[in-house]
C-alpha cells in the first residue's frame, strides 16, 4: 500500500494548512479589507464567491484530465480522482451559486438573475450533478468508471461552448452583466484578500479530494 501513513500525515497537514488559510482569508476578507463604497458589507461575499468559482472550475478540469488518463490507462486511481474531484466540484459550484444568490438579494433585490455568469455556473452544476447521478446508477464499477470518464470529457469540452453561448445570449440583447466581481483594478488590499482566499479554498479542495480518495480506496479494497 503505497499511500498509507505518509498519505495520512500529508492529508492532515493539508487540512491544517487549509484551516489556517481559511482563517487568514476570513480575517482579511471580513476585517482587514476595506468596505466597498456602493454595496457595503455584502460585497465581502466576493471573497467567498470568487474563490469557490475558481476552485469549481479547477475541480472540473481535474475531472477532465483524470477521465482522459483513465481512458488511456484504465488506472483505477485515475477514476477515483475523477470521482472525488467531481464531488468536490459539485459542492463548490453549489456554494458559488448560493453565494452569488446571497450577494444578489440585498444588492439588486432578487434571488436569481439570468446573468451570464450565474447561468453558466448553474448549467455546470447540473451537468456534474448528472455525472454523480450516472455513477450512482451504474452498479458495475468498471462500467461506471468508463461511462463517467466519457461524460466527464463531454461536459468539460462543453464548458467553453456553454460560456460563450450564455454570454452572447445575455449581452447581445441586454446591458452587460451587472454581477462582476468588482472592477479589474481592485485596490491592493482587496486583491490581496481575494488571492489569499483563492489559495485557501484551493487548499481546502485539495484536502477534500485527498480525504475522499483515501475513503474511496478503502471502500474498493473492502469489496475486492
Amino acid at each position: 500500500m503505497w499511500f498509507s501513513t505518509a498519505d495520512r500525515r500529508l492529508t492532515r497537514v493539508l487540512g491544517w494548512l487549509a484551516a489556517l488559510g481559511l482563517v487568514a482569508g476570513l480575517a482579511m476578507g471580513f476585517c482587514i479589507a476595506p468596505r466597498e463604497v456602493t454595496q457595503g458589507n455584502v460585497q465581502r461575499i466576493m471573497y467567498l464567491h470568487v474563490p469557490t468559482a475558481w476552485v469549481a472550475y479547477l475541480a472540473f478540469m481535474i475531472v477532465l484530465v483524470a477521465s482522459v488518463v483513465y481512458l488511456f490507462t484504465r488506472s483505477v486511481a485515475a477514476d477515483r480522482l475523477a470521482q472525488a474531484s467531481a464531488e468536490a466540484g459539485v459542492v463548490f459550484t453549489g456554494v458559488t451559486i448560493a453565494a452569488g444568490s446571497i450577494w444578489g438579494k440585498p444588492t439588486w433585490g432578487i434571488w436569481w438573475t439570468w446573468d451570464a455568469r450565474l447561468t453558466s455556473v448553474a448549467v455546470l452544476f447540473v451537468m456534474y450533478l448528472g455525472y454523480l447521478l450516472l455513477r450512482e446508477m451504474i452498479d458495475d464499477r468498471e462500467r461506471a468508471a468508463r461511462y463517467c470518464a466519457v461524460l466527464g470529457i463531454v461536459a468539460a469540452l462543453d464548458v467553453p461552448l456553454v460560456h460563450l453561448s450564455v454570454f452572447w445570449w445575455r449581452t447581445l440583447h441586454q446591458p452587460p452583466s451587472v454581477m462582476t466581481p468588482g472592477p479589474v483594478s481592485l485596490p491592493s488590499a482587496m486583491l490581496a484578500a481575494l488571492l489569499v482566499n483563492v489559495l485557501a479554498f484551493t487548499l481546502l479542495y485539495t484536502y477534500f479530494v485527498a480525504k475522499r480518495l483515501s475513503s474511496l480506496r478503502r471502500e474498493h479494497e473492502a469489496i475486492a
Binding site: L71, L134, A149, I153, A155, S165
Partner: protein, 225 residues
C-alpha cells in the same frame, strides 16, 4: 470503404426496422400534434404572443421529441441479445456510431418536418420564405442533438432509471445548441440575413464538430468492455 459500408448497414437496419414497425415515428407524430395543442393552450389565442415565442416553441418541440426518439435508439438492441451482437461484430465500433447517428438524424429531421408543417397549418404561418436559412439552422441543431444523444443513449441503455437519466444528462450539455438554434431561428424567421447570426452559426458548427468527434472517438468505450 469497409467503414462506410458498415455504417451504412447500421443506418439501413435502423431505418428499415423503424419503417416496418413505425413505432417511434407514429408516436412522435402524435406527440408533435399534442405539443402543438399544449403550446396553444399554454400561451392563449393571442397571435402576436405565439409569433414572438415561435422560435423557442419550435425548438422546445424539437428537443422534447428528440429526447423521446433518441432515448429509444438502442431499444431495438435489447431483444435477443442484439447488443452483444453489436459488440461481437469485429471492426471499428465508431462505424456503428456513425450509422446510428445517421439513422437518428434522418428520423429527427422527419419529425421536425412534420412539426414545421403542423406549425404552418395550425398557426397560419408562412415558413416557406425562410426555408433555406431555416433548413441550415435546423440541420446544424439537429446534428448537435443527435450526436450527443446517440452517445448518451448508448450509455444509459443499460442503466437503471434510463428514461430519467437520459434527459438529465443530455439537456445541460445541449444548452449551447438550444441557445444558438433559437437565436438563429429567430433571425431567420424575421427575414434577417444569415450573416447577422454568423457567430451563432459558427458556434453550432463548432459544437457539432466537437460532439461528433467525441462520439466517434469514445463510442467503442461505451459499447464495449
Amino acid at each position: 470503404m469497409r467503414f462506410a459500408r458498415r455504417a451504412w448497414i447500421m443506418a439501413w437496419k435502423d431505418l428499415t426496422v423503424e419503417g416496418r414497425s413505425k413505432e417511434t415515428l407514429n408516436s412522435l407524430f402524435f406527440f408533435a400534434l399534442l405539443l402543438i395543442f399544449l403550446f396553444q393552450f399554454a400561451l392563449g389565442p393571442d397571435r402576436e404572443r405565439l409569433t414572438a415565442a415561435l422560435p423557442g416553441l419550435l425548438w422546445l418541440g424539437f428537443i422534447l421529441s428528440g429526447l423521446l426518439g433518441l432515448g429509444r435508439t438502442f431499444v431495438g438492441e435489447r431483444d435477443n441479445d442484439c447488443w452483444d451482437g453489436l459488440r461481437l461484430a469485429p471492426g471499428d465500433k465508431s462505424a456503428i456510431y456513425v450509422g446510428k447517428l445517421a439513422g437518428n438524424l434522418l428520423l429527427m429531421l422527419a419529425v421536425e418536418t412534420i412539426f414545421l408543417l403542423l406549425f404552418e397549418l395550425f398557426f397560419d404561418l408562412d415558413l416557406v420564405a425562410a426555408l433555406p436559412g431555416l433548413a441550415l439552422v435546423v440541420g446544424l441543431g439537429t446534428l448537435g442533438l443527435a450526436a450527443v444523444g446517440t452517445l448518451f443513449a448508448a450509455m444509459t441503455a443499460h442503466v437503471r432509471a434510463r428514461e430519467l437519466l437520459f434527459p438529465v444528462l443530455l439537456l445541460p450539455v445541449e444548452v449551447p445548441v438550444l441557445l444558438g438554434t433559437v437565436k438563429a431561428t429567430e433571425a431567420v424567421l424575421l427575414g434577417e440575413p444569415l450573416g447577422a447570426v454568423a457567430h451563432w452559426l459558427k458556434l453550432l458548427v463548432a459544437a457539432d464538430v466537437i460532439y461528433v468527434a467525441i462520439g466517434v472517438l469514445t463510442f467503442d468505450v461505451v459499447l464495449d468492455g
